[in-house]
Symmetry: C2
Subunit: 476 residues, 2 copies
């Protein structure tokens, strides 16, 4: 292919993370010719600097904590984790940051991969600038899908770049355990990485501007996670901002807004995400570079019938699984429109990402795990639903006590009083990560409480909390 060659496809996907891969998979399965453009590693943030490495770091922490809470076993696992073994396993799970396997998969489904920076140059046209500076123009007969994701957003602190701060990328790929680590932020990345590195041997200090951790979940989630982090030896300081930061002889020095000086070997900023849309040629089609892209429920960008924005870039739900869900729907919608068939775009239709509104699940892989599906009480009220929340102390559930000695955890169910369906569920405690899909099905399936009484939890699992929640609602 030469600089001037024009390559025409039905669909061009910009960004080959899990979201872009899933769009391409679906359009290809529908018989549409598809190109995918990737400027870094095929497989994206999730495979190399997010879900996979973070969970590879966290699983041993959780398994060790579970073992420590188990009679007859706890004595054997009092020592520290074998950090080199954990890091090596994490390297294995990121394929040592090589994407050969993913490239093979893209080829296997008959999608053409273009390496380089993809930029829109006008409607239906993407120019790819390869690593060698070579340019190729791709034309999309049907659709362009922007799946470029998000990056860590750093606060505008003077001199921050000179500190070489960690973002989620360095926190998930570091090859050495820092002796002391400052974590700035209180969201998912912050608490997961604080949990991982504290267990791997760092002395972690968490600095949170707000009043607590995990503030987008029910309040008790952040409370229980903060309590456990503190018990694990981390120093969690809420209501604390970083006023300035620098490196002195290699040591990070952060000064808080209260004037306190905190030293560390590394500092992680987990202070939010920004869309990776600043350099993809949005200006050529009248959109604002660096902005989140607004879409309808078929993931089509408002006002552009050929342009889709899928995954983090649309800011609907910054979660890999939700992006993949959108990708399946966007791919199907592109195929349906290409084939001239009517869209099934009503609520919960095959071409509507309805779950993005009120049925999004999330699992935070800390110890304890925090998992939610649907809306929190505050979100449900804000959305105008007439709801009632019921809480259950998970330690009162037989299966929880059997799972872990001294079990601590909490569950909340938010019930819509109009039709008695579940708007949201939150579980926090050891072993709850795999419990949340039940809630996701209940919320997305709009299963009424009267029927949930017939969904019998197996005894003695922790899932018996469902019965306790139903009883709490009935007896409230």
């Amino acid at each position: 292919m030469t600089e001037t060659e024009s390559n025409v496809y039905d669909v061009v996907v910009i960004g080959a993370g899990p979201v872009g891969e899933n769009v391409a998979d679906r359009t290809r399965a529908a018989g549409l010719t598809t190109a995918i453009v990737e400027s870094e590693l095929v497989g994206g943030e999730c495979s190399y600097w997010a879900c996979m490495p973070s969970k590879a770091l966290l699983r041993p922490v959780i398994a060790q904590a579970d073992a420590r809470r188990t009679p007859g076993l706890s004595g054997a696992v009092q020592g520290p984790l074998d950090a080199p073994a954990v890091l090596a396993h994490r390297d294995y799970y990121t394929s040592n940051w090589k994407d050969d396997g993913q490239v093979q998969w893209v080829e296997s489904i008959g999608v053409d991969l273009y390496r380089g920076q993809g930029r829109l140059t006008g409607p239906r046209t993407v120019e790819v600038t390869g690593p060698d500076g070579e340019r190729r123009v791709l034309t999309a007969r049907q659709a362009v899908a922007v799946c470029t994701g998000s990056r860590a957003a750093l606060p505008p602190l003077p001199g921050l770049a000179d500190v070489r701060p960690w973002t989620s990328r360095e926190a998930t790929s570091a090859q050495k355990v820092p002796g002391r680590l400052i974590v700035v932020g209180g969201g998912v990345v912050a608490v997961e990485m604080a949990t991982a590195w504290q267990a791997l041997g760092s002395r972690v200090t968490v600095l949170v501007r707000g009043g607590g951790l995990l503030e987008r979940m029910e309040p008790f989630a952040g409370e229980l996670v903060a309590e456990a982090l503190t018990e694990a030896g981390a120093d969690v300081r809420t209501g604390t901002s970083v006023a300035s930061v620098g490196r002195e002889d290699g040591t990070v020095v952060a000064v808080t807004d209260g004037g306190e000086r905190i030293e560390a070997d590394e500092i992680l900023f987990a202070t939010g995400r920004a869309p990776r849309t600043d350099d993809i040629g949005l200006e050529s089609v009248g959109l604002e570079p660096g902005s989140w892209l607004e879409t309808d429920d078929s993931l089509r960008v408002t006002g552009h019938d050929w342009l889709y924005a899928v995954g983090d870039v649309n800011h609907r739900a910054l979660l890999t699984h939700q992006g993949k869900y959108q990708a399946r729907i966007a791919g199907a919608a592109i195929a349906a429109r290409a084939g001239g068939t009517d869209l099934d775009a009503g609520e919960w239709g095959a071409h509507a990402a309805t779950a993005d509104h009120g049925a999004v699940p999330q699992v935070v892989f800390t110890d304890p795990e925090a998992a939610s599906a649907g809306l929190t009480l505050a979100e449900a009220e804000q959305a105008g639903h007439r709801v009632r929340a019921v809480d259950v102390d998970l330690s009162t559930v037989a299966g929880a006590g059997l799972y872990a000695d001294g079990y601590k955890g909490r569950a909340r169910m938010v019930v819509d009083l109009e039709d008695e369906i579940v708007r949201g569920v939150t579980f926090v405690g050891p072993g709850v990560g795999e419990m949340i899909h039940a809630a996701t099905i209940a919320v997305a399936g709009r299963v009424p409480l009267s029927r949930l009484w017939h969904a019998v939890p197996s005894y003695p699992t922790i899932s018996e909390v469902w019965l306790r929640l139903l009883e709490a609602y009935r007896d409230a």
Copy 2:
């Protein structure tokens, strides 16, 4: 109270296991005066010789197996379990076979407890023979509920009693780890107890008459559990019956139908259950002593408008959680009939144990865990449903690989082709126990596949197998 005193209640419950307790709880909550009769420990089989002690024995086994499969931790947990610590914890969970706590609870809800053997002496009349031989007659204005459960059924082998074989009771309450243990049977009790005692230090031999273990589940469940038991060091022999058994100088000697002689220190017969209805006066009301009691979906015994049979005794589903479910429904039905209100007894109504037919869940706490909800493929076909089963190798799910190194497991979804709802789901593998409630909600909720596509599994949990199952069905 004296021999001649007649005590009149609205409801008399015979059997104070979890099932009887739940019936009493519901009738009491409805304002009906209630008596409960118990010949052994209040709390029943589940609390002292089944669910609680078995799970207290098994949880350390599973946690250790999980830890061994975790990089960075496996080195610390190669040694054997601390058996005395596990047994002591089990003792704690059975309250050392004392029922004070449960008695307090019964009193706290305002139910009168009668200790002794309860026997029907005619319609609505129960005679209780106390431990001291004292007799009391209870009259039930509204209903008598038989909740006496089941006991281990021993095969008619000559001399078996002299061997003092273990049943589920001894297997869950033993204070010493036998050096060698023979387990006869291949069902849930057999595989769970084989798993527990092998891990606690016994050399276990499992003798199964049939072709495999866990034959009421999907075939791969028994296969994977047998494989793991064998890897753990147990000797699993299928197609093998016990022809004779005896004790020689304290040593158990079992001779198989093939003439092989197997020696052991103890032998557990886990060869089925029999109803505890042989000595409850059934003959006084025209029913057959020792029989399972047939009921309608409100749990009322066929032909007796005042008599209910709830839990194992009705043979609908011999599981604690299902018995408790029936108990809630029976209690509500008794209360509704007592109050003269119409029953909500249609399918999935408040007074119909509809879930007993096709929406029963079960978790087998072995390593790997085996969990199912609803019907197996064979059961669905036998029930006349037009179904298709799709399977997924759980090791292909990212969350499974992250959960355990070398993950082995399998999932099956049985889909009804008429209306594309899920008839049954089976998961076998580490960490699947809490995953099954999602399937229970899908099956009981009759959530169609088209909606399950919108129930997004959180990434990277093992629950992402739901997506793989939907894809397998779509692409089949």
